[in-house]
Symmetry: C2
Subunit: 165 residues, 2 copies
């Protein structure tokens, strides 16, 4: 896939700056169109990561994967769903450590649901802050592009005489 991975599909679905509807989100998580038992190469392609990374995640305890009679990994729907979640969290900046903790909570049963929810809420806030940071950086970059004379200073009128940058 790689040129048609989940994120690329998702971005195409959303467009460059369209609003996000629940319907769109539902489609983002809809995996009905992928084959049920998948090989490592297929999953890697779907998630746009390498087979190596998938094995790395498995060794890290993030997911258990069955094997066929040749010892090759066989990813069932649950594993794929979990990996979609994991890669989404990774892509949005959640560190491996936290993912390991989250999965350990999952494995610990329903009692840990509140803590999982806390983790998601906190991660949501982190993403939000990151988006705001990037939005500011974007604005600053666009400002610099618009007023470009090479200076870092704020005064467009003085750009010609400002120290070069």
């Amino acid at each position: 896939m790689a040129t048609d991975d989940l994120m690329t599909r998702a971005l195409a679905l959303v467009g460059d700056d369209g609003p996000l509807s629940v319907e769109v989100i539902r489609r983002l998580t809809d995996l009905a169109d992928v084959p049920e038992p998948m090989t490592i190469a297929e999953v890697a392609d779907l998630l746009d990561i390498t087979p190596h990374t998938l094995r790395y995640y498995e060794r890290a305890g993030l997911v258990e994967v069955a094997r066929d009679r040749y010892g090759h990994r066989v990813y069932d729907a649950e594993a794929v769903r979990r990996l979609v979640f994991l890669t989404r969290m990774r892509l949005s900046g959640m560190p491996m450590r936290d993912l390991q903790h989250y999965i350990s909570l999952v494995d610990a049963g329903q009692d840990t649901v509140p803590e999982r929810l806390d983790m998601l809420l906190e991660h949501r806030d982190i993403i939000r802050r990151r988006i705001r940071e990037l939005t500011l950086s974007l604005a600053a970059t666009e400002y610099k592009i618009a007023t470009y004379g090479g200076s870092t200073g704020p005064d467009a009128a003085a750009l010609d005489t400002a120290t070069e940058l």
Copy 2:
């Protein structure tokens, strides 16, 4: 500063999700309220990075810093402005390598302005894509929070029976 660094001030200025006006951007780049010659600790505090990192940037050739008679670094307005720019770019994901290249272009004179502009345009696109990615991850996270039963699946109605995650 650290609890009142540039980004924190900027975020406070903008609010949690307000629109960005040119006026706000201008204020973001307005350094009139900082003392003119600064010590490494003051600059570090302003930029919310460590003195170590500032020395690292200097060794990397990103900025030249004068010294006082004791050999201590003295950051003038130009150095501070450049560092504000550099840290902003770093924070938005531009790698050191690219910053070094950019600075080398600056040092090479006006002929390199078009290439610098290209770099900024490209970086702008990268930031935009990153924001869109994060927006999607945010939406997915919020969707998961809203429908939370612990499953990664898309079907909220089946959450109770879905495999736990």
